[in-house]
Amino acid sequence: MRGPDSLGRGWWRRNGWGLVALLPALALMLGAAGYSDLEFWQRGRPEAVLPAADGTADFAGLRMRVAELAPATDLKRSGDRPFVLPDNMTAWRVVLDVEGPTDLEPDQVIYCAISIEDTAGNRYNDEPRELSSARTPLGNCNPENSPVPAGSGRYQTVAHFVTPRGVEIAAVRVFFGGVDQTRYVRFDR
């Protein structure tokens, strides 16, 4: 309908509120359509959750801190024979002190994946092929794999890595894929 209506209102006056409402509707539409893509994007680049000033971080119902991050020179093969890496590699051990709820049901156990990052931004995963003939525990935040008895919800999780020799480690990353795929705990060294 062109021209003024029976009340003498022009097109802009008649449709003004409708036009205003279009803006939030458009925003809502874009948000709804982009949400899944945004989450997909965030899963590709998870956001770092940093620990408090005392070095402990609370995440996924656990309280954790890095107790040790050092080259592992005392690795053993089966039968207690020493495990020796080639000269161009360094093995690393990360020990996390973990404090979880004491009343955890057995099927409620949370799993994590620990990785380390060097100063150049390269990331290394635990249980590398290079260490497959060394005896190393599973560093997956599960109390059953703790080297110390998991008393009163406190236990340790130990993970091993291998990097080229001479690499400086900048951070330990702990990722709880079953809880949150868009964030991870990052302990900077």
Partner: protein, 189 residues
């Protein structure tokens, strides 16, 4: 006059339909639109895909493979390429390897022997490359026009980088008649 106008509009509809059909057939298919991003290189040079680097160190062809005491023959020729591959900034593996001939036929690496290096079985940490050999069965006539394709995903190589390295074999009929061995993957030290 009226009839002429009707004929005109009928013609217009036909023209619109024909244009739409032409646009639809001219459009690239999804297969083409989602094809891998090629990273092209030569034998002897490092080629960097998104997640890994690869170098074809040497390539040869033979009438048979010698695997332990087994001799595997072929109705064509075996192409054996020595590769040096490594992860870039995150742990990764190569899970797809194939040779493409000049007729765009794609020959995947043989599954008659296990080739961990390029079937996803070997996760590499950044800075710790591996060397090993792969074997591909091709018709003799195709051996002179092969390009080696490598990608990090076994079943879906779309929309991700894929190395394309032209293999330096000029004539499939000049291949060695002697069975050749295939080197196992080995960490480079």
């Amino acid at each position: 006059m009226k009839l002429l106008r009707r004929l005109g509009s009928a013609l217009f509809v036909l023209a619109a339909l024909a244009t739409a059909q032409a646009v639809q057939t001219a459009e690239p298919t999804l297969n083409h639109a989602r094809r891998p991003f090629p990273v092209i290189g030569e034998v002897g040079e490092d080629v960097a895909a998104r997640t890994f680097t690869a170098r074809v160190q040497q390539v040869r062809c033979a009438a048979a493979l010698k695997i332990g005491e087994h001799v595997l023959d072929t109705q064509g020729v075996w192409i054996v390429a020595k590769l040096r591959v490594g992860a870039r900034s995150e742990p990764t593996s190569i899970a797809y390897a194939a040779a493409r001939d000049s007729a765009d036929r794609v020959y995947q690496t043989t599954d008659r022997i296990s080739l961990d290096l390029v079937t996803g079985g070997l996760t590499m940490q950044p800075g710790l490359p591996y060397e090993g050999e792969i074997a591909i069965e091709v018709p003799t006539a195709s051996a002179g026009s092969l390009t080696l394709l490598l990608a990090d995903n076994s079943f879906d190589q779309r929309l991700d980088s894929m190395t394309e390295i032209r293999l330096s074999i000029s004539d499939g009929s000049a291949c060695s008649a002697e069975p050749t061995t295939v080197l196992l993957p080995k960490a480079v030290s």
